[in-house]
């Protein structure tokens, strides 16, 4: 899922300076699961904004803010000075497209594509490089999980299974090594991984997919 985190209230009220009618728009998908921008978080944020002195704060949570199909109900809403989206950056942008005359502000920082490790703990797993290599690395992505995105093994800073950049972070290459060792596939690590084709990643420009088989 897309994992996000709410911005500090001060930053949000800073964006909303001078606005008296604010609609907070949540999303029922990823940001609900990571407890950053679902119905419940929308209610909490709306209360905080009222306490901060904003006259009228509306609340609305849609099923998926990244999909126009679910945004229809929003067009029938009353008068607002601006929208405050508690979705990821995708939701913020789609709302902006839908309401080009209204400012749409982001209430969250979109952090990464990741997993819920435990209660209150999320971590990154994928950088959507557009050309998956997980078949070669034991199902553990060094692009997302190694601080230097190394493709040919650990740097000299891997120590006791941890990354030199942050002692709380596992060294991705230690994880890859352990998994391949357990599977008896260490020979995979002897082959040179040649420079990656990053054109499938964001480096190739904004990406899009067109599928004629499902297009109308």
């Amino acid at each position: 899922m897309i994992v996000a985190e709410r911005k500090p209230l001060k930053e949000i009220t800073g964006m909303l300076q001078g606005k008296q009618r604010v609609l907070v728009v949540g999303c029922n998908t990823c940001v609900t699961i990571c407890m950053a921008g679902g119905r419940k978080e929308v209610a909490i944020l709306a209360s905080a904004l009222r306490l901060a002195g904003i006259e009228h704060v509306g609340e609305e949570t849609v099923e998926r803010q990244c999909d126009l199909e679910f945004l229809g109900p929003l067009t029938k809403l009353g008068e607002y000075d601006c929208l405050l989206s508690t979705a990821c950056g995708i939701g913020v942008q789609l709302l902006s497209d839908l309401f080009p005359n209204l400012p749409v502000y982001p209430a969250l920082n979109t952090k990464f594509l990741g997993v819920n490790e435990d209660l209150g703990r999320w971590s990154e797993r994928c950088q959507s490089c557009g050309d998956c290599i997980l078949d070669r690395t034991g199902g553990i992505c060094p692009i997302a999980r190694c601080s230097k995105s190394l493709l040919n093994g650990p740097c000299g800073g891997s120590q006791n299974g941890k990354c030199e950049v942050n002692g709380d972070v596992d060294c991705a290459w230690q994880l890859i090594y352990d998994r391949l060792a357990a599977r008896g596939e260490l020979d995979r690590l002897e082959t040179i991984f040649l420079p990656k084709d990053w054109s499938h990643s964001r480096d190739g420009g904004p990406r899009r997919i067109r599928r004629e088989d499902v297009a109308l």
């Binding site: 230097k148 995105s149 040919n152 299974g161 030199e164 002897e190 420079p195």
Partner: protein, 307 residues
């Protein structure tokens, strides 16, 4: 001969090589580079110049190398992947070769979070092994992208190895990959833990890698227990046995003890089969190099042709 550099000739002739290393200044101070050069002249076969080491901005390695070359020293350009993509790296390397620089050490580079611009974006378009492969392609007359290079840059290609990083079992396979990618010489992380280094070398010999690549062991002379402790505690990938800390603590003259320790380490490393030389990293203590080389019995340096 791959590049015919002085370092390559010294190693090819079977001499026990001595390299030095210097960090360029954090300002446009050519004089500081020339001053440090005097400590190395005649005492080492080549001098590495770091490339924004620990992710702190300094005079570029190539520019510093050119100054060292003017000073009559043989430089080793350090090239990291942190700050440049494959276009910039190849462009800089063509420039280095055009300026007459012949040795290049290929590194991934310290993460920018350790340096003076922690908010910078990093590049890491390629990693050190891919860089070695790329420089080897270049000297064979091809850009990394596949197109022909009419006048290929001829480099003596180096790489780093850290026998003290984890997982230990991946350290020799990684070296093997560097050799396979086209690496000619290796400079290791600083060695204090000689038994672990010896164990690594044993695996290196088991694979016959010492016959395919010149391995130079890293030695770091230090003059304070504080510096040693810092390395032990805060520098990932460096292991320092407590015995060295104790010796420095108890020393009446820590600088003297530091020289003694470094000389001992050089002698112990020289005894290990397959070690082709030492790489001296006198961080902030370049002036000690002449004494170290002399006391280790490595002076004078061999004369090779075309010097």
């Amino acid at each position: 001969m791959k590049a015919g550099s002085r370092l390559e000739k010294v190693l090819a002739a079977g001499h026990f090589a001595v390299c030095g290393e210097m960090g360029p200044p954090r300002s446009a101070d050519a004089q500081a580079i020339r001053k440090k050069a005097q400590y190395f002249r005649g005492y080492v076969d080549a001098v590495n110049v770091t490339d924004n080491q620990t992710a702190v901005v300094r005079v570029s390695s190539i520019a510093s190398c050119l100054i060292l070359q003017e000073e009559g020293l043989e430089p080793v350009v350090q090239m990291t992947c942190r700050d440049r993509n494959r276009l910039a790296i190849q462009s800089d390397l063509l420039g280095a070769a055009a300026l007459g620089l012949k040795n290049v050490l290929c590194l991934t580079g310290d993460h920018q979070s350790f340096g003076d611009h922690p908010t910078a974006k990093n590049v890491y378009d390629i990693d050190s092994i891919q860089l070695i492969w790329g420089v080897d392609q270049m000297r064979k007359g091809k850009f990394m992208g596949g197109e022909e290079i009419k006048v290929p840059p001829q480099f003596f290609i180096g790489g780093a190895a850290n026998p003290f990083g984890d997982p230990f079992a991946m350290r020799v396979p990684r070296l093997a990959k560097k050799v396979q990618a086209g690496c000619d010489f290796i400079q290791t992380q600083v060695v204090f833990d000689v038994p672990r280094f010896a164990k690594w070398m044993e695996e290196v010999r088991d694979r016959g890698l010492h016959k395919q690549v010149y391995i130079m062991a890293g030695v770091l002379p230090t003059r304070s227990v504080r510096a040693l402790r810092y390395m032990q505690q805060d520098v990932a990938g460096v292991t320092i046995p407590d015995e060295y800390i104790r010796r420095m603590e108890q020393a009446a003259d820590p600088a003297e003890e530091g020289v003694k320790m470094a000389v001992e380490l050089i002698q112990q490393l020289r005894e290990i089969e397959g070690v082709a030389g030492v790489h001296l990293m006198p961080v902030m203590w370049e002036s000690i190099v002449p004494r170290l080389v002399e006391e280790a019995g490595l002076y004078p340096r061999p004369v090779v042709d075309d010097d």
